[in-house]
Symmetry: C2
Subunit: 248 residues, 2 copies
């Protein structure tokens, strides 16, 4: 009998060409499917994630599902799968779920966090986990801009101009926060769904607000314009973490 499994993982995106499988490239999906194949007597097992991440982007709580004919206890799944994965992927949990659970279509809330190091000198030991912004930022102005992004909007201005999206570009953002702790800034975004590069463009735009290049209220104009060129630059991938995925 087939059993649907939900798996929560962390990964360090530094050495991956993103999540999605690609021939000849090292990807998160590729590593996991290879491990599952070894566990399933060389039979291929497809995994379905909550969504993809780009090269260099990390995950603290990515979720995927798959179906298995193996009859293993939940507690042993974690150990068995972990032992077959490389050091930059960590299995947080493996759970049995009903067969109608879907890692992508069942998402209720997704949380991303973007980390910025805002000081003149770089920190070479954490350079793969933040964006180093060496010029001063007015964090109060950035905080002022956040609420304008919340709610249901057409986020065309905040999505990669290259993307061809199936369906509209209307998304609902529940919360945007800019948290400061010393020289570390974290931009926290929670929403029902995201367009390609959306969190990185939100971050790039908030940083331009912090620099004084844009006024906080200008975010409204940018949204209304539905034009990618109105928003800020796309922040680099290494500061971005897929933080948490919540299901019904």
């Amino acid at each position: 009998m087939m059993q649907r499994m939900k798996c929560t993982i962390q990964y360090d995106g530094t050495f991956f060409y993103g999540f999605q499988i690609q021939p000849t490239k090292r990807t998160v999906q590729g590593e996991i499917e290879q491990a599952l194949k070894r566990m399933h007597r060389n039979q291929f097992v497809r995994i379905t994630p909550s969504g993809r991440t780009d090269a260099g982007v990390h995950a603290k709580g990515q979720v995927f599902h798959f179906d298995t004919f193996l009859d293993i206890e939940e507690s042993k799944w974690k150990k068995a799968l972990s032992s077959l994965l490389p050091g930059d992927i960590f299995v947080v949990a493996v759970e049995k779920v009903p067969e109608d659970f879907h890692a992508r279509f069942g998402v209720k809330v997704k949380e991303y966090r973007y980390q910025i190091l805002n000081q003149y000198d770089p920190n070479i030991f954490t350079r793969q986990y933040h964006w180093h912004v060496p010029f001063p930022l007015d964090v109060e102005k950035m905080k002022e801009a956040c609420p304008y992004l919340e709610g249901t909007h057409d986020f065309t201005s905040f999505s990669s101009a290259k993307t061809t999206v199936i369906g509209d570009r209307v998304r609902t953002i529940y919360r945007v926060e800019c948290l400061q702790e010393g020289n570390e800034l974290t931009i926290r975004v929670e929403g029902s769904g995201f367009l390609y590069n959306m969190v990185r463009i939100i971050t790039g735009t908030l940083v331009e607000v912090g620099q004084g290049k844009k006024r906080p209220g200008e975010v409204q104009t940018i949204l209304a314009g539905k034009d990618r060129t109105l928003a800020g630059l796309t922040a680099p991938p290494q500061g971005l973490f897929m933080w948490k995925v919540t299901y019904e």
Copy 2:
């Protein structure tokens, strides 16, 4: 006129085959000498460090000296050299020093720190900067063992069996400390000089004390035995940081 310069740097050892220059391999010395050559109209400039570090070992405060014919202000040196170095080397300071300053022979105190993550689950985001020890450690026992290492001893038991040292293996250790902060342990060692792998073997031995494989007082017997096989395993390189070098 030639001017002697003292330079303090940080580096992330992950992507280097150690400090010392090697043909065809990426080394810290190789990167720096290449940058200095570019600054000196293609003329080779030799650097002399306080000491080498192995592949994977990091530095928070490595020091080297070199001689230059360039007449640049101290403040501009830092910027000029930094701009020619890769993202995993950071220039902390460049200072003019008297011509008799010597980065290796002038060392008064050297401090190393070794970081251990002592919990069952790994932390994949900091895995290149600590040794993950997943079994419980009795930190009090480790602390009890530390003072036995302090003072002037023949450290043959705590040096790589492979090394052929010029001179004796007597060294003076001023301080050995084991500091605990949550699940993070730091072993801090200060001394006048160190043998090859000495801090990593001290760490490996202290961890065996923490595991109950060795008694704290056994450190005395190990020192007296002058035999590498008596001490613990060599801890892996990625937890080790050359922390600080102090001169007269």
